[in-house]
Each structure stands twice: as C-alpha cells, then as structure tokens.
C-alpha cells in the first residue's frame, strides 16, 4: 500500500506520525506545506517541515507541538538584550537546523535534498518532502494591516488580525519538488491531514501540477477535519472561516474539499453533521480525531487507513 499524506504544522504532524508508526517506511510519503517558510535574521525557516520532522523523529516539544524538546533559549535571550525582534521563537537546537539549512541552500542544494539528509540524520525512515523547492509564499490579506506575510500574521500578530483572503506569491514559477508527482501518481491513498485548509493544504494543492496529478490518480482521497464542534484544537482555521463569513464546522471543511475527496473523517462529537457531509457526495467516517497522545495518533491513522481500504473496495465494486 502506498500512502501520500498532505500535512501542515502541528495537527498534520501528529497524524503523519501516526501513519509513520502504522505503515512500513517505503509505504509513506509526507508532502509538507512550505508556504509558511520565511527568511528571518538571514536564516531560511521552514516551520511546517521542521514540525513534521521533529515530530516524526520524536524530537518535538510535547507541550507546544512546535519546536524541540529539551530546548534552551540562550541566543533568544541575547537577542532580547540587544533589542532584536523576538516575536519568532528561535531555540538553540532549532537554530542549528535553520543555520545548516541556510548554509546548504546558499551552496545551491535543494530544500528537498536537505530535508532528506536531515531525515536520515534524525532516523526518519519514511519520505518527507517539501511541496516545492521553489519559494511560494502565503500572504494574508487582513482588515487592519492589508497584505502581510503569513508568519507576521501568525506569530507577530498572533492571528489577531481579521482575515479577508490569501495569496500564494511566486506560485506561477513554483514546481513540485522532485518525488512529489511520482508519489502522488503511485499512491493508493492520499490523506489530507487535519491541517488548516486555507494556509496549510491549499498551498500544497495550488503548486502548479499537484492538484491535476491528485485528481488524475486512482488513489482514494480522504480528508480529516481539523474542525471539531466548530473549533480547532490549534491554529486559526475556524477563526478564518468565520472572518470570511463562513460558519466554521466539519461540514464546512468537507465542502472545502468536496470536489476532489472520496471520504471525510470527522469527530464523533460532530455526528449530527454526518448527513450534511454525506449530502455533499462524500463518504463519512465518524471517529475520535483528537490526538492527545501517541496511541491516539496511531488509532486515528489506523482508522483512516481502514476507511481508505473500505472505500477502495466499494469503488472497485461499483
């Protein structure tokens, strides 16, 4: 079985980790959003790639979901002392990642190669790849401050500004990273992790060629709702829907993806929305989607994979 997971940050990383614990390494490819990537202090920072890799390697901070466990903050403290901006957290361990990635990029290495080498180093056996080696930057249009880069919206302004829309700058020139199209083509199952539909999943499928390859593939396509009871566990997805005049709910997410998914996984807490989602022409799996520990990640991964196999059998039959 070949599985492709599309993932953003913390929520996506958790399900990706569950999948990596259930599948054989060769069976899993994780394609990660790099629309959030940005340059800060001259360093190239890839928040979602790092969150996914740190999580898969067991190196993530379990309290925050992002950053490293056993992190120290010496440089950050010294930056504060000299009046440098400290709105983006840079731990000492995390900084080593950013420094080495920046050094290699400056030498002409591709982000996808560097990511693969970091994975080797950190004992990550499945394939993790950026959606693209090219820069395609998510910008957020806000009521209060106009267009701003995603990290400024997300971290500097703590998602407090009202969202009007999104733009992926550099999209026209972006190409899928090596391996991305091949993985999609060979996939039996494509799983959209419970990541932010607007700023984690959309950038991935907006890389020219990727959506076409997804819809052309024979893979069963399943999305997992990041919204439970109208709220997210983490991140601004629900707030974004509301600000754009859309009632945030699991159904809303299902509608977001309904043109290209076969199945939708939503939390048992939202079972009253089951029929609404089914009416979108999408099969539904109701299950516990809140991944409070590693066992829950594994259980959700298993449930999603079983749902995919069930849909696969039904589609073959029909």
């Amino acid at each position: 079985m070949k599985v492709v997971a599309l993932a953003g940050g913390v929520g996506g990383a958790k399900l990706a980790d569950g999948l990596a614990r259930v599948l054989k390494p060769a069976e899993l490819t994780i394609i990660v959003n790099t629309g959030d990537d940005f340059s800060h202090f001259g360093l190239r920072i890839c928040p979602d790639l790092d969150t996914v890799c740190y999580t898969l390697a067991g190196m993530a901070n379990p309290q925050t979901g992002w950053g490293r466990k056993d992190e120290t903050w010496n440089v950050m403290e010294h930056l504060r002392e000299i009046g440098a901006p400290t709105w983006f957290n840079l731990g000492d361990r995390d900084l080593a990642t950013h420094l080495e990635r920046t050094r290699r990029l400056a030498q002409g290495e591709r982000l996808s190669e560097i990511t693969r080498q970091f994975c080797d180093l950190w004992g990550i056996q499945c394939s993790v790849m950026p959606m693209s080696d090219d820069q395609m930057e998510t910008w957020v249009e806000t009521m209060e401050a106009g267009w701003i880069p995603f990290q400024e919206y997300f971290v500097l302004h703590r998602c407090e500004l009202k969202v009007k829309g999104f733009e992926f700058r550099g999209r026209e020139k972006a190409r899928p990273a090596p391996g991305v199209m091949d993985a999609i083509q060979k996939a039996d199952s494509i799983i959209v992790c419970p990541s932010n539909p607007w700023v984690s999943i959309t950038p991935i499928v907006e890389v020219p060629g990727i959506m076409e390859e997804i819809t052309r593939s024979d893979a069963i396509r399943i999305a997992v709702s990041p919204i439970i009871q109208g709220k997210t566990i983490k991140g601004p997805a629900a707030k974004m829907y509301a600000e754009m005049g859309i009632q945030p709910s699991a159904t809303t997410v299902a509608r977001h993806y309904s043109s290209w998914i076969h199945g939708f996984v939503m939390d048992v807490l939202d079972q009253q929305e089951r029929d609404d989602v089914m009416r979108l022409g999408v099969e539904v799996l109701l299950t516990d989607t809140i991944m409070t520990d590693v066992e829950k990640r594994v259980e959700l991964a298993q449930a999603v994979l079983e749902f995919s196999e069930k849909l696969s059998r039904e589609i073959v039959k029909s």
Copy 2:
C-alpha cells in the same frame, strides 16, 4: 586632541581600549578593518569589528581575546550534532550579534549605522567605524590551495598554508564609511595599532581615498609594531613575512609603513634595531608594548600619545 586609530583584531583592540581609557570619548575614532568579514550560515560576520567592540565594552573573553566572556556554546554543539561545519566558533552571545546585524543589513541599514547602534547599546562612547560599508574582501594566495578567502586561511586552515600574496576583492567599488574621511581630516594623530600589516592595516588604507586622506592630513602618524623579537603575540604576521621571503622584525614592519609614518613604537626588547629603524627616516619610541593586562594597555596608549605630542612639537619647530 583628535586621535584616529586604525585597528584589526585582538592586538589592535587592546591598544584601542587603552586609548579609549586615556582620551575623552569625543577625542577618539577607531577605524576597523572589515576585510576579514564574511558570510557563514547566511550570517554576516565581522570578526575585527566585534573584537574591537567587545573589548571596548569589557565584554571580550580575556582568555582568547576574541569572542565574548561568559559565553555558552549550545548552538555550536547542536551544529556539530547535525554534521554542520564548526571550524568557525559561534558562541550563543556572539550569534545574537551576527543575527541582528544580518537582519538589519537585509533591511538596508548600513554596517556603520548598525555598529554605532551596537556601540550605544554596549556603552562604548568613542566612535568606532568600519573602514567601509561596502564589501572589500581579503583573499589570500596560498602555495597549497591557491586563492582562498581570509577566514578560510585564518580559521579553517589555522594559518598553516604558505602565503604568497593578498588581494582585496571589491576594492574598486569600496568607499570609506561615513565619518572615516572626516575623522582622518580632523585628526591630530593617526595611530596604527599593533595589528597585522598585511591583512588588518593594508585593507583599511587600501580603501580608495583613505591613504590619500591620511597623507594629506597634518596628523602625526605613528605605527606600533605587532612584531617583537621576530614574533607576534598573536596571529600570523611574522609567519607571513617569512613565507614571502622577508625576515620578520620590528624593522620590517617599520619599513612596511615608512613611506607614510612619522614615528614608530617598538618594544624595548628590540632596542638593538633602533638605529635601523631611524635610518628609514622614522622617529622611534622604545617602550614596553606587550599588553598583558588593562594597565599595560593604558600605559602603552599614554606612551604613544606622548610620543605623538613630542613629534608634533618637533615638526612644528622644524
């Protein structure tokens, strides 16, 4: 009295510190070599500027002469863990300087402005300025490895390669930093600190316009020998002379500068060379030039300033 000091790294920083302890802040301008500056891990690193500033601020590591006291090495340790190059030491405190400087440069601020702001922050009251805001990079021609950037010669190869020559890349387009020409013009005394003549002082005077301004000025021009008993306290100046077929000695240094200095300060240990230097048409001050502690820095600074005043009176008389 207006004094300009030309300085490179550790030795230059020590005399600059002595001068700063003797003169009033408005009396002293320190022009620092930036030929050693380089980009590493995406960060702009200015070793001599940092050494001078850390020394003046009392923040330098007294054991090494470079870097910060009370330094920690967390990021360096994590860089080592991921197989990144660790030949250039990057302490956690020092990294904050590099990060913030890089961030400000990327925003279009000039190195001279950033340096001034760091000085304000660190309580440095005299003027410290880079020789230029433009990049003018010292490259070293070596027997074994051909042309290499200075930091690779100096740190990566620990000065072990044999030197054939030097080149200052970007020299044609480099302009003196704001304030440099004015300080030289107004100087009563220009003091060449005991820094490496080849790679610390020559880059400064090779910035187009600086040497012309120095020789046009009425200032008394004095150089302090970095070579004592044929050796340096620190750094490869003596080794460089020897490799280029020149016997390293105080006289050799005096000859290096003889076309544009009035006075030369050499160590009492080299008193037998006094007449050789005088024969170059240069006045000589024999004194203790080894700056083992802060008091010695002050004593040497006082001796150099008195020597300058003496020469000034003599030149006026003649």
